[in-house]
């Protein structure tokens, strides 16, 4: 993975020193809250319901074991023994004291991490496919380009005060696991007919109050033009983005109001002035960054098939876990493993300090010291020899992280919601927990099949509810929590925004409502091969409405 060079290290250290001074001055009363607030936000420090919250960037979701151990250390020493992995591949700590944050940032800097640009109207952490470098269907590793974008966008003087926050995601496979069409810029790394690398460029996707699917404005951008083209997009946005209205300030609104064709024309015009100049990426530079992401030396381990076969016969729970949480690697002797942070009845995305440490140990022993954070709030071991899967499984059982539910209905994305978040209207975690318990039976989950359920505690949509096959949005009505259900969303290469199915449900009704939706799907699907989303697309909302509200309509 990428290692800081001297420049990076000095820059991060200087920032820690600067913010340490700012915190000291704030605590001494030398600067006011109005003055301090933008400074703390630039360094990832929010104020939530119970305490401050520190959001730490995990670039493109890639961690080494030293970094994960440091996160465990921070959780134990400065927080309350756990951290929360987010849908942006970041981690949040929910209880740090402001007076401890300088020490936390210094600890982070010692393992090449920071919290810069995890807030504010700037280019945020660039996210990528969590199976990057491992997936069998990948054209090329998207992370070197995410790293190039990270370097370019870090304290970029022109793009530090954009109309609104700006999120970029990159994928290197046809099958989109990075939800690129829900981002301000989505990049699909691919090869053209000549075998050259480049990107399909999507712009103007986003969730929140006005969900939009990104529009493709270029089918193939040669890789060397990545930065000049991104600069052109950001310039058009910086110039014309709506600074007058916070709710209309994201690029999605600009693209929508301008029209995709006209927007693309403006970008191309801007690009014409930038192209083939200093922002062109020299081949040597791309190669140098690529070298950081060279895969580990994956020795042949042909015994894997036999070992897995025998272990499966021996243990049904191991077999279930392999079937659900292990995916094909580009090397046949290897596999990529999803470590579910969605234990039945647990808070999605939370991991304790000792779990983080144990995962780091497992990764050191069996996975070349590499860990990923997925936007679905799980951890990934990208390279595990099939021959070691049983050992990894046994170690995960020990720390209660072997729940075999990847991609199933209990693999729920949920934002922190009203249990932590100052902006929330309703709780998310408690809803996730109850649904998880209701569908605890693995047999039942597997019968239901692939189903992405996503929950947000307010319209900001951090829990991606708009693009859940089933989405749940918490709102406040007359002082009480109410949950709106959307159906038919998806965040893959066929991204779609879900449709609101009808009136909302109270906290004590929502799990029943979800069960009704699921039972309706089971009753109407053609057979097991038709998953929930396909069935919904075929059937439309009518049978689900009938099942949820039919009685009411008749009674009325």
């Amino acid at each position: 993975m990428y290692r800081y060079d001297e420049f990076d290290q000095d820059f991060v250290k200087a920032r820690v020193a600067e913010f340490t001074d700012q915190v000291e001055r704030r605590l001494a009363g030398e600067i006011t809250e109005e003055q301090f607030r933008p400074l703390r936000l630039m360094n990832g420090v929010y104020l939530q319901l119970h305490a401050y919250m520190l959001r730490i960037a995990i670039p493109y979701g890639t961690l080494n074991t030293g970094q994960l151990r440091m996160l465990a250390h921070i959780a134990r020493r400065y927080d309350k023994g756990y951290g929360h992995f987010t849908t942006r591949q970041n981690i949040q700590f929910n209880w740090p004291a402001l007076s401890d944050i300088p020490a936390i940032l210094a600890d982070l800097a010692s393992v090449e991490m920071h919290a810069i640009q995890t807030s504010g109207n700037c280019i945020r952490n660039v996210t990528a496919d969590h199976f990057a470098g491992a997936a069998a269907d990948e054209v090329a590793d998207p992370r070197p380009y995410a790293e190039i974008l990270r370097q370019w966008s870090s304290v970029h003087p022109e793009f530090s005060y954009l109309p609104r926050k700006f999120k970029i995601a990159v994928t290197g496979a046809e099958r989109d696991r990075a939800a690129i069409q829900t981002h301000d810029i989505g990049l699909h790394l691919k090869k053209n007919a000549e075998g050259e690398l480049g990107f399909a460029v999507y712009v103007g996707g986003g969730q929140g109050r006005t969900p939009m699917v990104a529009k493709k404005i270029r089918d193939f951008l040669p890789e060397k033009h990545l930065l000049s083209y991104a600069t052109a997009i950001l310039r058009v946005y910086n110039l014309y983005g709506r600074r007058d209205n916070k709710y209309k300030a994201r690029i999605k609104i600009l693209v929508h109001e301008t029209g995709t064709e006209e927007f693309a024309r403006q970008v191309e015009a801007e690009w014409a002035a930038l192209k083939d100049q200093e922002l062109t990426l020299p081949e040597a530079d791309i190669a140098a960054i690529n070298a950081y992401f060279a895969p580990p030396a994956l020795a042949a381990r042909p015994e894997g098939d036999e070992v897995v076969k025998l272990a499966r016969l021996d243990s049904k729970s191991f077999a279930d876990w392999v079937d659900q949480n292990v995916i094909t690697h580009r090397r046949p002797d290897y596999a990529a493993v999803t470590i579910s942070l969605k234990g039945i009845g647990e808070a999605p995305g939370d991991a304790s300090d000792s779990q983080m440490e144990a995962v780091a140990d497992i990764a050191d022993q069996y996975a070349f010291g590499e860990i990923r954070v997925s936007h679905e709030q799980n951890l990934i071991l990208p390279h595990v020899a099939r021959a070691d899967l049983k050992a990894v499984y046994d170690a995960l059982v020990e720390i209660e992280l072997a729940t075999p539910n990847s991609g199933l209905i209990t693999d729920i994305i949920a934002c922190p919601g009203l249990d932590y978040c100052a902006l929330a209207n309703a709780r998310s975690i408690s809803v996730a927990q109850e649904i998880s318990r209701r569908f605890a039976s693995l047999e039942r989950q597997r019968d239901i099949g692939e189903l992405k359920l996503k929950i947000s505690g307010c319209i900001n949509a951090c829990g991606h509810h708009h693009v859940g096959h089933i989405g749940i949005l918490g709102v406040e009505k007359k002082g009480a929590e109410l949950y709106q259900v959307t159906l038919g969303g998806s965040a893959d290469e066929h991204t779609a925004v879900g449709e609101i199915i009808g009136r909302g449900f109270g906290p004590d009704e929502i799990t029943d409502a979800i069960e009704t939706v699921v039972e309706t799907y089971l009753a109407h699907r053609l057979d097991r091969s038709e998953n929930f989303l396909d069935a919904y697309r075929r059937l439309g909302p009518a049978p689900f409405k009938e099942a949820l509200y039919g009685g009411e309509a008749k009674a009325a």
């Binding site: 704030r26 605590l27 009363g29 006011t32 809250e33 104020l47 939530q48 319901l49 119970h50 305490a51 401050y52 309350k80 209880w95 740090p96 004291a97 402001l98 007076s99 808070a347 009203l418 249990d419 932590y420 929330a424 709780r427 975690i429 408690s430 927990q433 002082g479 009480a480 929590e481």
Partner: protein
């Protein structure tokens, strides 16, 4: 009825204004204002503490008395006063359980 709440500057701890006893870490100890004059007093205390860099996010919130105990009207404030509903071992609720 209202009480005055804020987060302590140094560590972000949720706190409530308890008059002469300063700022309390649990809502049970808060001073309750029953009329406009009482609210004005609380507000003035909050402004002073904010200006003095002791607290941030100062707010007057609606409460009611249930069996003699102060209970915020909004769920948000009830969760602030207790802790995350999924982790009874955290927040203020952890103290009373202990």
């Amino acid at each position: 009825m209202k009480v005055l709440t804020a987060n302590r500057l140094t560590d972000g701890e949720a706190i409530w204004y308890a008059g002469a006893r300063g700022w309390a870490e649990t809502i049970a100890e808060a001073d309750v204002a029953g009329d406009k004059a009482g609210e004005a007093e609380l507000e003035a205390a909050g402004k002073a503490a904010f200006a003095n860099n002791e607290v941030v996010d100062v707010e007057l919130i609606d409460v009611e008395l249930v069996d003699g105990l102060i209970r915020p009207v909004r769920l948000r404030e009830r969760i602030r006063a207790a802790g995350p509903t999924n982790r009874l071992d955290l927040g203020k609720q952890a103290r009373t359980a202990a």
